[in-house]
């Protein structure tokens, strides 16, 4: 299906950005700016809803909704279009990006009230929506990269938004550069993919079949799978592509080793942290991996790396999150950790579970960030949890809604995170793909479980330190009275205005019930009725399946890449109708019981974590935690000492001062002197051959230059006297 409505989704926010940038700056009317910004995203949301959910919409159709705008770059066999496509994956993504984005825009109209750069903020925020939706809806890798860099740019601009904040500009730069390192991998991945598809006779970087272009992913799917060996990384095959693309993902999605930018990015306004650094942009890496799942499933070693990096990041960031005192920093590390989960899911081949968690995470993490924003707003820009406490009395709505987010991230049943996290853990445990050697899945599960425990602990700590306990802001505040012009009493925390609390409530509701779109069979069959995992059923056809993934069913798996057979998604098929040939299999009875046991274990872990957090921090909110954690394992310092400093010193002292000025220029200066002397001797040469006239001309010219070098100086000095 071809429709120009699709481009409206991306261009509405762009128009909003332009209006705010050009007109908003003159009008300086917060209502005008806010309405323009929210309305433009609102348009996107409505169009996205329409295009995905209508009867032949993206979520039900088997063919993507396409919109070809123009051919962007075409040289030789290489072609990249400005073309959009909405299939089930990008449909779901566009849906929650626009919706959560809209809520955050509304929230920001209240949060940014009174800021000098109000228009600028919303212009950037709208621009971000444009870039993010371009990333999501792009029909080829290069256009996705445009969105990819575009969101990076907006992130850069928004992290550095507060011009008066000392740490903002360096943090912005750091974010951009860390992302750039990843982007290096992304670009090379595109190049290599193009090269491979060219060799297969169908040069393309497109995700879908279009007129004149074959889907690169389909081409990849027809190639043989790489072997499970580390040599494959450097072999220049699909594993190399996958690894290069994953390098891009580690930058954008803040994974080891490029995660360091995300905590610093908290210098930006809180709605930005919620929108960009929690709900949408940072999950772009996961989206890209899932979008390119055909490549990854053909590269088992890359899957292995993805799983390992994901699990390691999940655990690593969770431990750091335990010991942070800045409310936003805790959430930032929590985001990194949750992103690690998603990559772990990708690594074991549970792409749908990864996307499910992305979406649930968007709900509850946006909720938590906005909640923290509401707290910061109510506390007059205080972010240190050590100076909070007892806020539930002053900010009941914020408190209650944040409780929903808290339960969701901890994984308490029926809240959103429970279903998605549980699914990831279960899929990890039961993973049996070529990329996951036997035993590793258990180890990964264990790491995931420990992370879940830590998550529950640090989130409980955050809630306890903020909303329970003594009111530490009063005692602390006394010392600062003189610095601020508003007095002591004015500093009592207050609940936020409606524009902020309504998005909080909506997101809290989503965090509570959102998970019901993806209830796994093992649980839904408990209640009888309609035991179908809608989410999985919708998405499974558009992601690649890892060979041997559904080994439990015992039957040979049919690999189907991007061409699912039509299926009655909207009908209400009985359980038995669920066919194995489109990827969904009914798990066997022992699998179901095992999955239920693991669900129970997950719940127990969450409850344990919450209890530990509660009892450790309820009465001792200021309890000291290991210094190593508080200082984030000194990763920044290590990078600084081992990478940044040496490069700077070598460049400055070695390359510039010694080589450029010393060696090259020094050589030239001495050469210049000898040439002049040499010229004197050349005069005596008498040669009568035509052939060497050229040589004489050269020599003569050198003499002239030498002469000029001496006298030109005098001429210039004369002229400029």
């Amino acid at each position: 299906m071809q429709t120009n409505l699709l481009s409206l989704i991306i261009f509405a926010p762009l128009a909003g950005a332009l209006i705010n940038w050009l007109i908003g700056r003159r009008v300086r009317n917060e209502r005008f700016i806010g309405v323009v910004a929210c309305a433009s995203v609102g348009v996107s949301t409505i169009v996205a809803l329409y295009l995905t959910l209508r009867s032949d919409g993206a979520l039900r159709a088997t063919q993507p909704v396409m919109d070809h705008l123009w051919t962007w770059v075409q040289v030789g066999a290489f072609r990249a279009d400005f073309g959009l496509a909405m299939d089930r994956l990008s449909g779901i993504y566009a849906l929650f990006v626009t919706f959560v984005g809209f809520l955050i825009h509304v929230f920001a109209t209240g949060y940014m009230h009174g800021d000098r750069g109000y228009y600028r903020f919303f212009a950037y925020l709208n621009l971000f929506m444009f870039a993010m939706l371009t990333l999501v809806l792009a029909d080829n890798l290069l256009l996705m990269f445009v969105g990819w860099e575009g969101v990076g740019l907006c992130s850069y601009l928004l992290i550095g938004f507060y011009l008066d904040k000392e740490e903002a500009a360096p943090a912005a730069k750091k974010a951009f550069i860390a992302n750039r390192v990843g982007d290096w991998g992304f670009v090379l991945g595109i190049l290599l993919l193009f090269w491979l598809t060219s060799h297969a006779g169908k040069p393309s970087i497109s995700f879908f079949d279009k007129t004149g272009v074959t889907s690169a992913l389909a081409t990849v799917a027809s190639l043989p799978m790489d072997g499970f060996t580390w040599h494959a990384i450097f072999a220049g095959g699909l594993t190399s592509v996958a690894i290069l693309l994953f390098i891009g993902a580690t930058g954008k999605s803040a994974q080891i080793p490029l995660f360091v930018w995300l905590p610093d990015a908290m210098a930006g306004p809180t709605p930005v942290s919620a929108l960009i650094h929690a709900a949408t942009m940072v999950t772009a890496g996961v989206y890209m991996v899932v979008r390119c799942s055909a490549i990854f499933t053909h590269a088992p070693f890359a899957m292995f790396i993805v799983a390992i990096i994901g699990a390691a990041t999940a655990l690593f960031a969770a431990t750091i999150g335990l010991a942070q005192n800045d409310i936003k920093k805790v959430l930032a590390y929590s985001t990194i950790s949750q992103l690690g989960y998603m990559f772990m899911a990708c690594g074991v081949g549970a792409f749908v579970a990864a996307i499910f968690h992305v979406m649930m995470h968007a709900f509850f993490k946006a909720q938590l960030f906005l909640g923290s924003g509401s707290v910061i707003h109510g506390m007059h820009h205080e972010q240190d949890m050590r100076r909070m406490g007892g806020l539930r009395k002053y900010m009941p709505v914020t408190w209650l809604t944040m409780c929903a987010g808290w339960l969701a991230i901890c994984g308490i049943p029926i809240w959103a995170g429970f279903f998605s996290k549980d699914e990831i853990l279960w899929k990890t445990w039961s993973a049996g793909s070529p990329g996951i050697p036997p035993g590793l899945n258990k180890a990964l599960w264990f790491i995931g479980a420990v992370t879940a425990l830590l998550t529950a602990i640090y989130m409980t700590r955050l809630m306890v330190m903020t909303f329970w306990g003594g009111e530490r802001f009063r005692a602390e505040h006394v010392e600062h009275v003189d610095e601020h012009d508003h007095g002591h009493l004015a500093h009592t925390p207050h609940e936020s205005p409606l524009s902020m609390t309504i998005p909080l409530i909506v997101l809290a509701l989503l965090s509570t019930v959102g998970g019901l779109v993806g209830v796994p069979y093992a649980l839904s069959s408990l209640t009888g009725g309609h035991p179908e995992n809608y989410f999985e059923r919708t998405l499974q056809p558009v992601v690649s399946e890892v060979p041997g993934q559904s080994a439990g069913s015992g039957e040979a798996t049919t690999l189907h890449w991007l061409s699912p057979p039509p299926q009655p998604v909207d009908g209400k098929p009985a359980v038995t109708v669920v066919k194995a040939d489109h990827g969904e299999t009914i798990p066997s009875a022992e699998e179901i019981s095992q999955e239920r046991i693991f669900t129970l274990i997950s719940v127990l872990i969450a409850l344990t974590g919450i209890s530990i957090g509660w009892f450790m921090f309820k009465n001792q909110p200021l309890r000291r935690l290991p210094r190593l954690l508080e200082n984030r394992y000194y990763v920044d310092e290590i990078y600084d000492a081992t990478i940044i400093r040496p490069i700077l010193v070598i460049s400055r002292e070695g390359l510039w001062k010694v080589f450029d000025i010393g060696v090259i220029d020094g050589l030239l200066h001495s050469l210049g002197r000898t040439v002049v002397n040499f010229g004197q001797t050349l005069r005596y040469m008498q040669i009568g051959f035509v052939r060497v006239y050229a040589a004489i001309i050269l020599a003569g010219a050198i003499v002239i230059i030498g002469y000029f070098a001496y006298n030109g100086v005098h001429v210039l000095q004369f002229l400029t006297r």
Binding site: G76, A77, R180, V187, L191
Partner: protein, 526 residues
């Protein structure tokens, strides 16, 4: 088609120079009017040059608007002009940057305005001449002629170390081009030996090469390639021949830097593409690994050294070394994408680096310093300046949808698929790091100049862009966006000429001749 458009284009600035002189001799002439005359003539040149676009593209690789007259009959030198896909946009870049450069000197140049504007106009004429000459001697003449005005522009209106910079610039480039003259003369004699007629005509020379009437021995080709390449590589500048550039760029007045970076450097890469590839295809292939190695070193080296510069202008100057390294890499990849990308990168570098120098000039005019440490927090007092400066920087970094990305991406695509060197992917990976470094040095500079809180009293009071300054950068800004979003019109007009050059390069024998299998990969693009 006999048209005198190119001659008109070359002469217009000269007439402008004449007019300026005559005007200054008339009684009651005011010095402040000179700049208007210069602006009028350069703008007129630009408008006239737009006529060149007509009829371009469409798979036509031939030279258009050709003019071919005997010039110095005794030695067979001809006045032969023409424009094809390779030179078309470079001419337009020149004519576009010229009025902008004049406008940027509006208040910056206070002394000796007459000489200044005359030199600028003569410079334009020489630069256009370089790009449209199809006679080697004529080309050489213009190539050298462009040197002299620039030498004086740097030496007279430059910064503190202007004399050192000017002399260094002159010697460096003159030495290179003299070797080229030797090569040109040798070529003349080679042609004479082969056909009995000596000629400097590029079209004739390539024709006799193509048809195998004239053959250059591998040994001669090797040396001739070197003679030409040295001249061009100094101009580019290719590492390690780059040390004239930071001094010249930094000391030159703003307009000089814009023209230097925008146009003069392109003469080098243009020369490589036109003459080295066109005349010495075998040697070009032979030298490709060396050139690519130097280009990649230049990309990384230029970026690293740019990163640690304390002077904004010097930083931008070193960034040119890095960006032009990409151009050379693309050219010597001998792939359609690489070479198209290289040509595109030439234009895009001219636009974005030109803009960057303008911005640096603006803050220099206000604060009379270029030291990064003297600035900070300009975003508050100068919001428009900051916004546009950031955009120009991002375009230089290669942000998609701005001009820099298209060229650099195509170059990397070309070099990845290139068979000019072994392990082309390693080369590409290394070159790709240049994009990371670009972000490092530009953003670090922006952080210290535009953002941040540290701002001295003097910075806090700076005025934002005035109307003239807007007018200066606006065309470039629009072009950045346009070239990034819709490169089609540019690429389609360069394609045929590039492909013709490339085909000859990878397979210099005429069609049907044996031994084509050895040519570097010709198969990937179709």
């Amino acid at each position: 088609m006999q048209s005198h458009l190119l001659t008109i284009l070359i002469l217009l600035p000269v007439i402008g120079a004449g007019t300026t002189v005559i005007y200054s001799l008339t009684p009651g002439a005011r010095e402040s009017h000179l700049r208007w005359i210069a602006l009028a003539f350069t703008t007129l040149s630009f408008l006239v040059s737009l006529l060149l676009i007509q009829g371009a593209g469409g798979g036509l690789a031939a030279f258009r608007f050709a003019e071919n007259y005997s010039w110095i009959t005794a030695i067979g030198a001809r006045y032969h002009l023409g424009v094809d896909g390779i030179s078309l946009w470079l001419v337009l870049l020149t004519t576009l940057l010229m009025p902008i450069a004049i406008l940027s000197s509006w208040t910056a140049i206070a002394q000796r305005q007459l000489t200044y504007f005359v030199l600028m106009l003569l410079l334009e004429s020489a630069m256009i001449g370089v790009f449209v000459s199809l006679d080697l001697l004529l080309f050489y003449l213009f190539f050298e002629a462009s040197l002299v005005p620039m030498f004086f522009l740097i030496g007279v209106w430059g910064g503190e170390r202007r004399i050192y910079a000017a002399v260094k610039f002159f010697i460096y480039t003159a030495v290179g081009s003299l070797l080229m003259l030797v090569g040109i003369i040798a070529l003349y004699f080679i042609h004479q030996t082969a056909t009995g007629i000596g000629t400097f005509d590029y079209v004739v020379l390539t024709e006799t090469l193509r048809t195998n009437v004239m053959a250059i021995s591998p040994r001669a080709e090797f040396w001739l390639f070197l003679a030409f390449a040295l001249a061009f590589c100094i101009k580019v500048p290719l590492w390690p021949l780059h040390t004239w550039l930071p001094d010249a760029h930094t000391e030159a007045p703003t307009a000089g830097s814009v023209i230097l970076a925008g146009v003069l450097l392109k003469m080098g890469t243009y020369g490589l593409l036109r003459f080295n590839f066109g005349l010495f295809p075998n040697a070009s292939r032979q030298f490709a690994p060396l050139m690519i190695t130097l280009a990649v070193i230049g990309i990384i080296y230029g970026a690293l050294v740019a990163m640690v510069q304390p002077d904004v202008k010097r930083l931008v100057a070193y960034s040119s070394v890095s960006h032009m390294g990409f151009v050379v890499l693309g050219l010597f990849s001998f792939t359609e994408q690489g070479m198209q990308g290289a040509l595109y990168q030439m234009l895009s570098h001219g636009v974005s680096t030109g803009a960057l120098f303008l911005f640096v000039g603006m803050i220099y005019e206000r604060r009379h310093t270029r030291m990064i440490s003297d600035f900070g927090g300009l975003a508050r007092p100068m919001p428009w300046f900051s916004a546009l400066f950031v955009i120009a920087s991002l375009s230089s970094i290669g942000l998609p949808f701005l001009n820099g990305f298209v060229g650099e991406f195509l170059i990397m695509l070309g070099s990845w698929t290139s068979s000019a060197v072994q392990h082309a992917w390693i080369v590409t990976m290394l070159a790709g790091t240049g994009v990371i470094w670009a972000a490092v040095y530009m953003l670090w500079m922006l952080q210290r100049v535009v953002f941040g809180t540290k701002t001295s009293e003097a910075n806090a009071k700076l005025s934002d862009l005035n109307l003239r300054e807007f007018a200066l950068v606006l065309p470039l800004m629009v072009l950045m966006l346009f070239m990034g979003v819709y490169p089609g019109p540019f690429l389609s007009r360069t394609r045929a000429s590039i492909e013709a050059t490339r085909r000859f390069l990878v397979n210099p024998r005429p069609a049907g001749a044996p031994d084509v299998a050895k040519g570097p990969r010709d198969n990937q693009s179709r």
